[in-house]
Symmetry: C2
Subunit: 342 residues, 2 copies
DNA sequence: TTGAAAGCGCTAACAG
DNA sequence: CTGTTAGCGCTTTCAA
């Protein structure tokens, strides 16, 4: 009398394709086809399946599906942080674009650390993503090896360089720094101070800035370097330190809008008018900067565009529209924008 | 002469457990055990397996593993947006906590829409997450049905209420509104204006605010309602509209720091001193507000704490430390903080 | 401590 | 248009 009921789906077990097939009175494969390639099934069968799915509350098990198909419809995305709105925008654009194409996004936060990125990568690659989007060009050797072994489309973002793993969507940080320097020189400034975070891309921008000053025979009066991620309050403090050292620059370069905002706040507290008494330049996302830094100049990056282009490229690579491509580089550019004073 | 090579892992195919087993000279199951329960395997076998893994560059296929184990080590997380730093913090805290416990996070952005949440849910539940974290208490009926059918631990966040699906980690938005009203009344203010977004939680806060004024026999001179997500510039414009209507409140209530910041900017442009001439109160994350709104009062929420507690609860539920629990409610609270002027 | 057999839920390939 | 068979890569019995 201990016979188990196998007539209808058991309590506590999610209904499977087989349960649906039984209820619909067709074979499992017909259910599978009705769900995934409806055009390859008679209208009658389709109706029976639809009803059975409804009745059982069936939800496909994608773990099984992906295993059989060898395609997970999953994309891995690794960014340093989402606390910085500039990356939040990129993440949003990517998830949105991929979602529409039927892909899900597995998010990893590396905290600007290559080691952490490597750990994330190991965990994530086990899930067999169909593609992967990374931030920057710097990865550990082990990461590079694993990525190559995974043999899936890769897009690196937020930078430009010679040796991308696969596709690359970004802009040149050295050029950003150079442009900023040139811009400030053109404004007639000759005495500079710089406040910069110490991650690779911020360093690249700073290097460009210093390079262009150097070409004009100028070197900055002071360079303050802060640990990434550099916060508002650190920017404020760094500027205060400069003032205490009697450094009176005509223009202050900041590696990010966040830092520039700190400088702005400290300047206000000391009745230094920006941009009247001193030029101040930041770097960040169009939207964010417009909202929080209405009274200064900034290098504007379109985080969303980077995301869209990266996702679109990845999609076309994953759906195999082009064969194992040559590495592609997309330069999304940047611009220096002078906003009205608040 | 068209015989296929099956001797060693083929090019283009990722090595499997069986490949590793062959190289190691043991059975597949021994490899599995060496990897997942090393203590149940002889030291000798373990060494052989480790070497073979190294040599083949083997990476476990979690799709297969999860299918066999019926456990994905995946957690679904749905938030309205990550553009708002308050949610970004929660997301960070959650992914970090789960990562340490060996879980990955599948992120969905609902854009404050229940319909979109439902779509995300359908896609995500197909991947058989072991647990799920949602924002707020409002879900479509279909979402509720699916969530119950999934039979996995659920944590709802950012709100408090009577009918949680399972666990609940948040605070009372009505109480926030009431506290703000009481605070401003205690300061001696009697003429108020309110600028609020129109999502459920902002509406709840506003209702609390109006309620407490009402109890004091006061009604606000004006209430501006903005569509969620409400941006900086809209807050600024809303305040400008109030001024044009000759509404001169002693205190302005804003449903978020972002809006308050817009008001602050417009006030500065018109030489209205905050908090000297007019009180202004916002709502948001401690860190964010401290960075961007140094000169006003704000209700402070700890987004990271909500994330930590939610993730911790979910972990203990998933690892089955407690049996199918009674619904748990965790009130993380909030506080009103007056900051120094910049 | 190790292995053989069976199966997780689904779909590709082939037949009918 | 529909069904049968076999297998995706792993782990769970159970037995040696």
């Amino acid at each position: 009398m201990t016979e188990r009921q196998t007539q209808h789906p058991q309590r506590g077990r999610a209904p499977t394709l087989i349960d649906v097939a039984k209820v619909a009175g067709v074979s499992p494969i017909t259910v599978s086809r009705a769900l995934n390639q409806p055009e390859r099934v008679s209208e009658k069968a389709r109706a029976k399946v639809t009803a059975a799915v409804e009745k059982t509350g069936y939800l496909p098990n994608m773990l099984a599906g992906s295993l059989a198909t060898q395609s997970s419809r999953l994309v891995a995305l690794i960014v340093p942080t989402i606390a910085n709105p500039i990356f939040a925008e990129t993440v949003r654009a990517i998830t949105e674009t991929l979602e529409q194409a039927g892909y899900q996004t597995l998010l990893g936060l590396s905290g600007y650390s290559e080691a952490q990125e490597q750990d994330l990568l190991e965990a994530i690659l086990c899930r067999r993503p169909d593609g992967i989007i990374l931030t920057g060009l710097n990865h550990t050797d082990i990461s590079r090896t694993r990525l190559k072994a995974a043999a899936i489309p890769i897009v690196e973002t937020w930078d430009l360089g010679d040796q991308p793993l696969d596709a690359l969507v970004g802009f040149s940080h050295l050029d950003v720094g150079r442009s900023v320097g040139q811009y400030l020189l053109n404004q007639g400034h000759r005495r500079f101070a710089a406040i910069s975070a110490d991650d690779q891309r911020a360093e690249d921008r700073l290097a460009g800035f210093i390079q262009v000053l150097d070409e004009a025979g100028i070197s900055p009066d002071a360079v303050e370097r802060l640990e990434t991620p550099a916060r508002f309050s650190q920017g404020r403090q760094a500027f205060a330190r400069l003032l205490e050292q009697e450094i009176r620059a005509e223009a202050v370069y900041c590696s990010s809008d966040t830092l520039a905002q700190g400088v702005l706040t400290e300047a206000r507290a000391r009745n230094i008018d920006i941009p009247g008494d001193m030029a101040l330049i930041g770097f960040g996302d169009l939207d964010f900067a417009a909202h929080t830094l209405p009274s200064l100049t900034s290098v504007q990056i379109n985080g969303a565009e980077i995301g869209y282009r990266a996702a679109q490229h990845l999609l076309s690579a994953m759906t195999g529209e082009h064969p194992p491509t040559e590495p592609v580089t997309i330069d999304v550019g940047f611009q220096i924008v002078k906003r009205d004073s608040a």
